[in-house]
């Protein structure tokens, strides 16, 4: 395990990182608002414009921004049940993504998928609601890229709770064995729903587990986007150069509940959580370093809000799928059943 010292980043890059984080947070806040808008006072998970489970990523923006800064739309990214920050940072178009979350025919999956099932061929983005099971498909994307002799890579993101699933182990071993261009990223937000890390994981750092596969393992301890950026930069470069996989664990923060509606009664440190919000912290850091003015920050917020408002308006204006099409898309070809 090693900790990488952040390289010096250009002012533009630093502001870009913050801009991405702000866009993500703005999106998540908007989804949260829309999610509750027509569910209260008697919360009903199945009601409203945005029904179903909703896992938001506030607090984990540094991971998405720091990792995805190194990727292009040709690289693949697989995410989890908590996918919005990664999708946004990877460049998934906001309009069809939002429409999917609203269950509309204009959505990424024509409303069939929903918030845990965002698939975007344009950016090779996908996600899965089954813990750790998104890792293995990422191997296959990396395999295809490798076979074609490109330097494209795949990034597979998962939570720290997921690192105790069998799929995690099998995927890391196979990626290492076949020297696949994959970067594994573990978002350690201390919690798997209500189970704290210490009651799920026998070791304090998943970076330790990299040794079980003979690959480099790095833990970024402080939810700093620049530290993530540095660690991911090295790992992405290694993968592109044919140096095989890397495991990066980032100690990040689940700012809100596991899903919306989670009262977090099990969480002792609840009162102090918001003090660790990475966005004000990074803003302060950049302001202190004279990289960012208040006006620039406000402009970031305005730009983000515009994009998000546009996407939400697009979603709301889009048609719902036609119930008569309920049997479509099971198969690409041939009659159904």
């Amino acid at each position: 395990m090693m900790t990488t010292a952040p390289a010096v980043l250009s002012d533009d890059t630093r502001r870009d990182l913050l801009q991405t984080m702000v866009l993500i947070r703005t999106f998540e806040e908007a989804i949260r608002r829309e999610y509750y808008a027509d569910k209260l006072p008697a919360f009903d998970i199945g009601a409203g414009l945005v029904p179903g489970e909703m896992h938001l990523s506030a607090g984990q923006e540094p991971v998405a921004a720091g990792v995805c800064a190194h990727l292009t739309a040709d690289d693949a990214l697989t995410a989890t049940h908590r996918p919005h920050h990664l999708a946004i940072a990877h460049g998934v178009a906001l309009r069809p993504m939002t429409a999917e979350i609203f269950g509309r025919e204009t959505g990424l999956g024509r409303g069939r998928g929903g918030h845990m099932h965002l698939f975007d061929p344009a950016t090779h983005f996908s996600c899965s609601g089954i813990i750790a099971e998104g890792l293995a498909p990422a191997l296959g994307q990396a395999f295809a890229f490798q076979k074609r002799g490109s330097d494209r890579i795949a990034v597979a993101v998962t939570g720290e709770g997921a690192a105790n699933q069998g799929a995690f182990h099998e995927s890391l071993n196979l990626a290492a064995l076949w020297n696949l261009p994959v970067v594994f990223v573990v978002e350690d937000n201390d919690w798997g729903i209500s189970v704290p890390r210490a009651r799920s994981t026998a070791v304090p750092s998943n970076a330790t587990r990299a040794a079980a596969y003979g690959i480099p393992g790095i833990r970024v301890e402080d939810n700093s986007v620049e530290a993530v950026h540095a660690a991911a930069g090295e790992a992405v470069e290694r993968a592109r150069a044919g140096g095989g996989p890397t495991l990066i664990e980032v100690h990040t923060l689940r700012l809100w509940g596991h899903f919306e509606g989670d009262a977090e009664g099990y969480r002792p440190e609840l009162a102090t959580v918001s003090a660790h919000d990475p966005i004000p912290a990074y803003r302060r850091q950049l302001t202190d370093a004279a990289v960012l003015t208040d006006e620039q920050f406000e402009a970031m917020q305005t730009a983000a809000l515009e994009k998000v408002d546009d996407a939400i308006a697009f979603a709301k204006d889009s048609a719902a799928p036609d119930p008569l099409d309920r049997l479509s898309y099971v198969f690409a070809e041939g009659a159904h059943s």
Binding site: F43, G111, R112, S128, G129, I130, G161, I193, G265, R326
Partner: protein, 352 residues
């Protein structure tokens, strides 16, 4: 590998009159587990978020306060490991109640379930017992998407060696859980989220009902005639029982008299009860929230025809038409066995 001998609770297979204390299905399950835990220290509960959280669908609320973390164990997200752990503990005479959070997650741990939990008793020629309950949430209707809305009971029922119990109401939920814990066989206990009576999900009033405080068991394998009728038989299970009863009550006003059979378990399947009812009505509708083909609905139809191909004048199915459960509400409610679809099927059956 000794097995603790349990006093059998009295079997009370018939739901007592209403007007008594009412509980939600979730609370009824908690009560059954708690009562068994109190008098048998070989019973313990294990699963993801079953401790302080109380189970994502409230199957274990409050148990950790009474029994502590030594007997109500939160696990890592390692279903193969902890279900396997349950199997080994059962083999050594404990009576684990293990929760798989969603039935949809069976794919990460099915080998333990169907090749071990379900087969060890047989492979050992009856010498090793696996008295374990594996409970799990199932079902859709609240836009949770294709990986969190499945029923899948047909998948478990197809594979031999496990009983498959699916209660529809609080009374049965308590009694069947008691019977499942008492059973010397492995029991899959599936509760539909929509029958749990949760505060945060739309619910049918039948999710809350009269439940005796004392211990009792509902025998596994006996269907219940949820409503008597002479015109059409609906054979169904779980939340679809509620919908079917609602439809039956509505149509009663129009003089259509629907009999509703609540199977309560797939394994054993109460073939007698099905045949008896269809023998009376001649019209069979199978309502099932699981996928239509190669599952419960085909088996119910076959059970009748096998007994007597002349019994059936008319048959139809109201199931999920072999598509993944769609996220968008408009689509999801077009594939689920909603009251509207059930009603249409009854009317069609009566028209012929």
């Amino acid at each position: 590998m000794t097995t603790t001998v349990h006093d059998r609770a009295i079997l009370l297979p018939v739901e007592p009159d209403a007007g008594k204390r009412k509980l939600s299905t979730a609370k009824a399950i908690q009560e059954a587990i708690g009562q068994r835990m109190e008098r048998d220290d070989s019973v313990f509960v294990m699963g993801e978020d079953v401790g302080p959280y109380g189970g994502i669908f409230s199957s274990t609320t409050g148990l950790i306060d009474r029994f502590g973390p030594e007997r109500i164990l939160d696990t890592p997200i390692s279903e193969t490991a902890f279900i396997g752990l349950g199997i080994g503990a059962a083999v050594e005479g404990m009576r684990p109640v293990v929760e798989l959070m969603f039935a949809d997650f069976f794919g990460v741990c099915m080998d333990q379930i169907y090749n071990h939990m379900a087969k060890i008793h047989f492979e050992s020629g009856g010498n090793v017992r696996v008295p374990m309950v594996l409970m799990m949430a199932a079902g859709g209707g609240y836009s949770d998407g294709a990986q969190h809305s499945q029923c899948l009971w047909g998948t478990f029922a197809h594979l031999p060696g496990m009983k498959v119990v699916v209660p529809s109401n609080p009374y049965d939920a308590k009694g069947l859980m008691a019977a499942a814990i008492d059973s010397d066989d492995p029991v899959i206990y599936i509760f539909h989220k929509g029958v749990m009576g949760l505060g945060w999900m739309a619910k049918n009033p039948r999710s809350i009902g009269a439940v005796p405080e004392e211990e009792y068991a509902v025998p596994i394998g006996k269907a219940r005639v949820a409503r008597e009728g002479v015109d059409v038989t609906i054979v169904t299970i779980s939340l679809s029982v509620h919908h079917s009863l609602d439809v039956a009550e509505k149509l009663a006003g129009e003089g259509i008299d629907v009999e509703v059979i609540d199977l309560r378990s797939l394994v054993p399947l109460d073939r007698e009860a099905i045949v008896r009812s269809v023998g009376k009505t001649g019209r069979l509708i199978v309502v099932d929230e699981d996928y239509q083909s190669f599952g419960l609905s085909g088996e119910v139809i076959a059970a009748v025809v096998e007994r007597d191909p002349g019994l059936l004048k008319r048959v139809s199915r109201v199931c999920v038409p072999d598509v993944p459960i769609p996220y968008a509400r408009e689509l999801e409610h077009a594939v689920l066995p909603t009251p509207a679809r059930i009603e249409a099927a009854v009317r069609e059956a009566m028209a012929t």
